[in-house]
C-alpha cells in the first residue's frame, strides 16, 4: 500500500511535467494545425537556461541566502527566454509556410528540432550539466511514504501553472481571442483580432510552460543534457494525442495518465521498458480512437 501511494505521488510529479509540455503541442495544434516537432527543444533549452541562471546565483552565494529569489528568477528568465525563442522559431520556420501544405510546415518543424538541439549541443557541450544540488534536500515522511520538498514544489508549481493557463484561455478576453483564432481566422480578423499576434502568443505560452517543465526535470534528476527534449517531447506528444489534440483539458489529463502509466509500469512490470508504455498508448489511441479521449466530445475545452 505504501509502495502504491509512493508511486502515485511519483506519477503525479512526472505526469504534471508531461502535462506542461503537452499543452504546447496541443495549443499550437489547436491554433494552426501544426505538430510542432521542435517543441521538445524548448523544454531542453528551458532546462539549460535554468541551470545557467541557478549556477550563476550559486557562484555568487545567493543560493543559500535567497533561495526563493533565485528559483523565481531562474523560472522567470528561462520561461521568458523560451517564449521569445519560440516566437522567433515560428516567424522564421513556420510563418512563411502558412499558406503552403501542412507537410511543408511539418518538415520545417523537424528541421527546426534538429537545428535547435544541435545549437544546444554546440553552445552547451555534449555532456550532462549538473544542477546546483544544495536546494531541496530532504522531505516529509508519512510512515513509509516520503514526499520530497522538491516533489511538493513541482506538484504545486505545476498545479498553479495549469490553473493559470485555464484562467487565461477560458476566462480572459485574450483567451477568447485565442479560441476564436483557432476556430475561424478570417472571422477573427473581421473583428480586429490579429492572428499573427495570437499565434505568437500561443507559441510563447507553450514554450514558457515547457521551459518550466525543463527546470523541474533538471532539478528532479539533478542534471540536463542537450538531447533531453527528445524522449519527453514524444511522450508529451503522446499525452496530447491521448487527450485529443487541440483540447487543453485533454492534454492535462493525458499528461497525468502517461506519467502514471510510466511510473506504475516501471514499478510493477518492468523498469527497463518504462519508455515503451507511452508509445504503446500512442499507437493504441491512434488505432482505436484517433480523436483522443476528449477529442470531440467535450468540445468546450478545445482551444
Amino acid at each position: 500500500m505504501e509502495y502504491f501511494i509512493q508511486q502515485l505521488i511519483n506519477g503525479l510529479t512526472l505526469g504534471g511535467v508531461y502535462a506542461l509540455i503537452a499543452l504546447g503541442y496541443t495549443m499550437v495544434y489547436g491554433v494552426i494545425q501544426l505538430i510542432n516537432f521542435a517543441h521538445g527543444e524548448f523544454f531542453a533549452a528551458g532546462g539549460y537556461m535554468g541551470v545557467i541562471v541557478l549556477s550563476y546565483f550559486a557562484g555568487l552565494g545567493y543560493m543559500e541566502t535567497h533561495p526563493v529569489f533565485c528559483l523565481t528568477a531562474s523560472f522567470a528568465l528561462s520561461m521568458a527566454f523560451c517564449a521569445y525563442l519560440a516566437i522567433g522559431v515560428e516567424k522564421i520556420a513556420y510563418k512563411p509556410l502558412r499558406k503552403e501544405s501542412r507537410l511543408a510546415a511539418l518538415l520545417s518543424a523537424l528541421g527546426m528540432s534538429i537545428f535547435l538541439s544541435n545549437g544546444l549541443m554546440l553552445t552547451q557541450g555534449v555532456y550532462d550539466k549538473a544542477y546546483p544540488s544544495e536546494l531541496f534536500q530532504g522531505g516529509l515522511s508519512f510512515g513509509l511514504v516520503t514526499v520530497s520538498y522538491l516533489q511538493m514544489l513541482i506538484v504545486c508549481l505545476t498545479g498553479a501553472l495549469l490553473v493559470g493557463l485555464n484562467i487565461l484561455v477560458f476566462k480572459t478576453k485574450i483567451g477568447m481571442a485565442m479560441r476564436a483564432t483557432a476556430q475561424d481566422k478570417t472571422m477573427s480578423a473581421l473583428v480586429s483580432i490579429s492572428s499573427n499576434r495570437i499565434i505568437s502568443l500561443t507559441f510563447a505560452i507553450g514554450a514558457g510552460l515547457a521551459a518550466a517543465a525543463g527546470i523541474m526535470v533538471g532539478l528532479y534528476y539533478g542534471s540536463v543534457r542537450y538531447d533531453m527534449g527528445f524522449v519527453p517531447g514524444i511522450k508529451a506528444f503522446a499525452a496530447a494525442v491521448l487527450g485529443g489534440i487541440g483540447n487543453i483539458t485533454g492534454a492535462m489529463v493525458g499528461g497525468l495518465i502517461i506519467g502514471m502509466v510510466e511510473i506504475f509500469g516501471a514499478g510493477y512490470l518492468s523498469g527497463e521498458y518504462k519508455d515503451v508504455f507511452a508509445f504503446i498508448i500512442l499507437i493504441a489511441v491512434l488505432y482505436f480512437k484517433p480523436t483522443g479521449i476528449m477529442g470531440e466530445n467535450i468540445d468546450d475545452t478545445r482551444v
Binding site: 476564436a180 476556430q183 473581421l190 480586429s192 483580432i193
Partner: protein, 240 residues
C-alpha cells in the same frame, strides 16, 4: 447625399490565384446610404466584400475608405476604423458562447462600461440572444446566428456595415425581422450599409441605390426604385 463617398472602389481586380473573380469593379457608397449589390450566384459579390475588408488582396485598382486608400491596410485594423463585415454564412464562432461572440465584436474597444451597456442593448434588440447568452454559438438556429452575427458586428461600432446575404437560408418571417433591424440600424444609428444579396427584390426594397454585378463586372447602377422597375432586371433577377 454628401459630396464625398465614405467607401469607394476604383477599377478593382481581384481573385483566387488564376481565377479572376473581379474584373474592374468601381462603386461608391455615400454616408448614410443603404446600397445594394445584386447578382447571381458566383458573380463576385462575396469577393467584393472580402476585397474591401482586405481579406483578399486587390491585384489592381484602389479601395478607398473615408477618403484614404486602404488596399495595404491589414484586415484586422479596419474594424477599428469603423468598417465591419457580416460575412456570408454568418461565421459565428461555434465553440464560443453567444456572449463571448459579442465580447469579441468589441475586441478592439477599451471602454468596458460601454461594452457592457452595448451587450445589454443587443439583448434588448434581440431578446433571444439574451436568453441564449451562455449557449455555444454553434448551437443556435440559422436565424439566431444571423442575429448574433449582426449584433457582433454592431459591437465593433461600425460606421459602414457590409452585409453578405443576410437572408440566405432563412424563413421569410425571420428575413423580414432581420431586414427591419437593418433598416433601423441605418435610420437610427446613421450607419451606412452596403448590402449584398441574391434576393434582389428584398435588397432593392431596403436600399436607396443599387449596383448589378455580373461575372465580376458592374453592368448597371441606378436608384433602387428604378432598378426594381427596370424590365431587364425584373426578368433576370426577379423571376418574371
Amino acid at each position: 447625399m454628401s459630396a464625398e463617398p465614405i467607401l469607394e472602389l476604383r477599377n478593382v481586380h481581384s481573385g483566387y490565384g488564376t481565377i479572376k473573380a473581379l474584373k474592374g469593379v468601381s462603386l461608391k457608397v455615400y454616408p448614410g446610404e443603404v446600397v445594394a449589390i445584386i447578382g447571381a450566384n458566383g458573380a463576385g459579390k462575396s469577393t467584393t466584400l472580402m476585397t474591401i475588408c482586405g481579406i483578399i488582396a486587390a491585384e489592381k485598382g484602389e479601395v478607398l475608405y473615408d477618403g484614404k486608400k486602404i488596399n495595404k491596410v491589414s484586415p484586422e485594423k479596419l474594424p477599428i476604423k469603423g468598417l465591419c463585415q457580416v460575412p456570408e454564412g454568418r461565421r459565428i464562432f461555434p465553440r464560443l458562447s453567444v456572449e463571448e461572440n459579442l465580447i469579441l465584436g468589441a475586441f478592439h474597444r477599451k471602454d468596458q462600461e460601454g461594452i457592457n451597456k452595448d451587450i445589454e442593448y443587443m439583448y434588448s434588440l434581440f431578446p433571444i440572444l439574451g436568453e441564449r447568452c451562455k449557449q455555444h454559438g454553434g448551437t443556435l438556429s440559422g436565424g439566431e446566428q444571423q442575429m448574433l452575427a449582426i449584433a457582433r458586428a454592431l459591437m465593433t461600432q461600425p460606421k459602414v456595415l457590409l452585409l453578405d446575404e443576410p437572408s440566405l437560408g432563412l424563413a421569410p418571417i425571420i428575413i423580414q425581422q432581420i431586414f427591419d433591424i437593418i433598416k433601423d440600424i441605418n435610420e437610427k444609428n446613421g450607419t451606412t450599409i452596403l448590402l449584398v444579396e441574391q434576393n434582389a427584390n428584398l435588397a432593392l426594397q431596403a436600399a436607396t441605390r443599387g449596383y448589378v454585378l455580373e461575372t465580376g463586372e458592374i453592368t448597371l447602377e441606378d436608384k433602387a426604385d428604378a432598378l426594381l422597375h427596370n424590365p431587364e432586371i425584373r426578368k433576370a433577377y426577379l423571376g418574371e
